[in-house]
Each structure stands twice: as structure tokens, then as C-alpha cells.
């Protein structure tokens, strides 16, 4: 898979914006900040989605997921010690975000079975707090069959 320069820039802009602000950039924001047209950003995002490098909202070029980040609220909140906050797509993504952000962070989530909140954090490069298990319902080769379910 080879990405064009515009696709690389559009993808990286989504990730940098998530990392810095906790949210996805709109098409308009990416266009303005990258010096591209809306159509160029939308086309780049669509190809990235086709290649499973992003997930887009339905009938839109706005971002839904840029793993491990979610652009919409979920049951998994990551709260960094420096004040940044992110929504994670799932329990696995929640514990992954502090590492790629390079920051200690608390994971806010509840057990779907009993409803009790976890006391879980990533600190000094390790997971601290409650034990738990991440449930993978589909194997890796089928992650993108239905990414919302995965």
C-alpha cells in the first residue's frame, strides 16, 4: 500500500490533532491548516478509510475513529495527568493511548457485566490498578468486517 503525499499529510493531521486536542479535526480545519481544498481532504480521507487507516462517519468525510482514538464519546475515557483527555474506541485502545501520547493517564471505564468502575491507570510505562481482561470477539483478520462491533 502506498499513500500519496496528500493522504499521508491528511492522515497525520488527524492523529496530531487527536493527540494534542482530544478531538478529530473537521474537514474544513484540515483543509485550512494543510493548505488543501475540502475536496482534496475528503478524497484523501475516503481512500484512508478504504485502506482501513481511518474510519469515517456515515456518509461523511468527518472522522469517526483513528485508532486508538475515537471522535465520538464511548465508554472508555483516558484522562492524562497533563489535562488532555481522549475517548478510546474500546478497552484495548484505552490502555494503548497513554503510551502513544507519552503520558501517564487514568482510564475511566466500567465493567459491562457488573457496572463497577475500574481503578486503572498507565503510569511510568506500566498498567497499574485493577486486573481485568479485554474481550476480543473477532480475530484480527476480521477486525474491519464491522469495525463498530469490533
Amino acid at each position: 500500500m502506498t499513500l500519496t503525499d496528500v493522504e499521508q499529510r491528511a492522515r497525520h493531521h488527524v492523529y496530531r490533532t487527536f493527540l494534542d486536542t482530544g478531538r478529530a479535526p473537521t474537514v474544513a480545519e484540515s483543509a485550512e491548516q494543510l493548505g488543501l481544498t475540502h475536496q482534496e481532504v475528503a478524497a484523501a480521507r475516503q481512500r484512508l478509510a478504504d485502506l482501513h487507516a481511518l474510519a469515517l462517519q456515515t456518509r461523511s468525510a468527518e472522522v469517526w475513529m483513528a485508532h486508538p482514538f475515537s471522535a465520538v464519546p464511548t465508554g472508555y475515557r483516558v484522562v492524562a495527568e497533563d489535562g488532555r483527555r481522549w475517548w478510546a474506541n474500546c478497552g484495548w485502545d484505552a490502555v494503548a493511548i497513554p503510551t502513544i501520547a507519552g503520558v501517564d493517564a487514568a482510564i475511566e471505564a466500567v465493567c459491562p457485566d457488573c457496572g463497577r468502575p475500574f481503578e486503572l491507570a498507565v503510569q511510568d510505562g506500566a498498567v497499574r490498578g485493577d486486573e481485568g481482561v479485554v474481550q476480543f470477539c473477532v480475530p484480527p483478520s476480521r477486525f474491519w468486517d464491522d469495525i463498530g462491533f469490533t
Partner: protein
């Protein structure tokens, strides 16, 4: 991929028929390598061989991880 308090809690919830349950610390180690390329300016997704090597490196070696 939901996070449960234990295998017993996952089984009681019954969200999917035959899940693979990964201890959170092992999932954390997988996340470190799986997402290591996401902030690269010149992003290249993992090849199938690289992805398989990441699973093996953190001890995920069953049929689920190679299917």
C-alpha cells in the same frame, strides 16, 4: 473490545460466542507495538507478517491470532 473485571464477568455478560480473553497487561503490551506506527509522518501499515510477529511477541499465539 470490551474490558471486563475478570473472565467470569466476561462469561456472565455473554456478549459474543467464543471470545479470546486477554489480560489487560498483555493487551497493554500489544497496544504498545500495534500502535507504534500511528504517529509516523510516513505511515505504513503492518504487513501480515509484521502483524503476526507483534501477536507472537506478546505471547498471543493461538489459532485465533493467526486466523
Amino acid at each position: 473490545m470490551q474490558l471486563f473485571r475478570s473472565e467470569e464477568h466476561a462469561a456472565a455478560h455473554g456478549a459474543c460466542p467464543s471470545p479470546e480473553l486477554v489480560p489487560v497487561r498483555q493487551a497493554f503490551e500489544l497496544g504498545k507495538v500495534w500502535y507504534a506506527n500511528r504517529l509516523d509522518e510516513e505511515y505504513q501499515p503492518w504487513t501480515l507478517a509484521e502483524a503476526g510477529a507483534h501477536f507472537t511477541a506478546v505471547g498471543l499465539t493461538g489459532a485465533f491470532w493467526s486466523s
